[in-house]
Symmetry: D2
């Protein structure tokens, strides 16, 4: 990953995110991916909400995640986010979730996003978005 | 409650809804209130989504809930929903959540909703909504 | 898929499951997979909660999903669930999510689960679980 | 409120927390109350998870919230948390949620918690918890 620009996000596990196994419910790691992605865009592009206001949506078209070890209530978590690949109409981001204290790797995964307009038609990523991604 | 029209909704506890105490996370009962409310409107008025399409939103302006006993994964649940009060610009619904098998009362509560248009301005409930509610 | 036993689950989209794009937030489809999985086990094995009570946990170790088209508030949804593969220590389930009315395919995916005991050690799937799966 | 010790928590609105109205889904503010409560305990008592490890649970027995104005994706939020009242077997916390930038008040509310042991029996708050609360 050394060739990637990486953005690190810190968060603390919420009780709402745990389940009856006493650990974080698996689907909630995808929410953490989203939090990491938002921070990535805010750092190297612009706020994702601004892109939506400008008429560009980036819905998730595909997701993959591996759950290596569980996170628990109150634990501090680091989410590392980077761009895996940019195409004219899609972008793929990679993620790694670690326990901040132990640096144990908890979850790895990626999400693919297609660019859509407000009418739900696939469209090219806006130039400034490609530009921001390319530099990654 | 005998004077109220009541709509009963059945649902089964999802693993996603539990937390590390091994029971349903308290905020998720508010989601069940929403499910009950949707069924109420669908039964005695029209689908809430249709009201939104027509330009009327009913955001929650106030909520109160008492948690009497916990629900667990896989349990069948009955949500009973009724209209507490209708005013020209707001409506209050009441809820009771029970374990279907034991009929034990788990949660009781109410939500107050104000009528808003797409621009976020308070507005009168549409006539057919008042009509549907009045009959309750 | 004709060689698989398939269990169908019906559910209705909750407002809580939607996001600011006006459609279901992608991570919530994983919750629907979980609902389908629970129904599968209840139909062809036993309630997953019973397995947990007996000391066997089936945490998700890997997930993949493709999002073909969005679901909206109030829509009726069909989740089809089947066993993709059973091994001595893991099981993989497949899912297909459709709009009940239009039969449009919305999401496809799979989850892999490893068998664990209460101490978090990997263990063999219990015989009755293998038996139930094998018949699939 | 000037007589209360107040803990302030900062968070940013997640996309997962929004709904089809384009704003934060009401039940998610209760999750923010939980985040504020966790920070309060961590600041003036001990980590809530530690209390659970010691055998004391503090489930929510009652909640009330008023929703004054909506929060939107990406917005920075301040949650202010304080102790409203401590009794031998229960504690009530108060919350105020504001937009960090505009200081607009978004949500106010309170949660009441009863002290329970692992077997689900009501019990006295542990001394160090009362102590921590009393100083509030």
């Amino acid at each position: 990953m050394s060739q990637h620009r990486i953005v690190e996000t810190s968060l603390r596990v919420r009780y709402a995110e745990t389940d009856a196994m006493g650990v974080v419910y698996h689907a909630n790691y995808l929410v953490w991916f989203e939090v990491g992605r938002g921070d990535y865009f805010r750092t190297y592009g612009q706020d994702y909400g601004e892109w939506e206001n400008a008429g560009y949506l980036l819905p998730v078209s595909e997701v993959h995640a591996r759950f290596h070890a569980p996170a628990r209530y109150g634990e501090l978590i680091t989410v590392r986010t980077w761009i895996e690949e940019t195409r004219s109409r899609s972008v793929t981001l990679g993620y790694e979730v670690r326990s901040t204290a132990s640096q144990q790797r908890l979850v790895t995964g990626w999400t693919k996003h297609i660019c859509m307009d407000r009418e739900g038609r696939a469209c090219r990523l806006p130039d400034e978005m490609i530009h921001a991604m390319a530099a990654s």
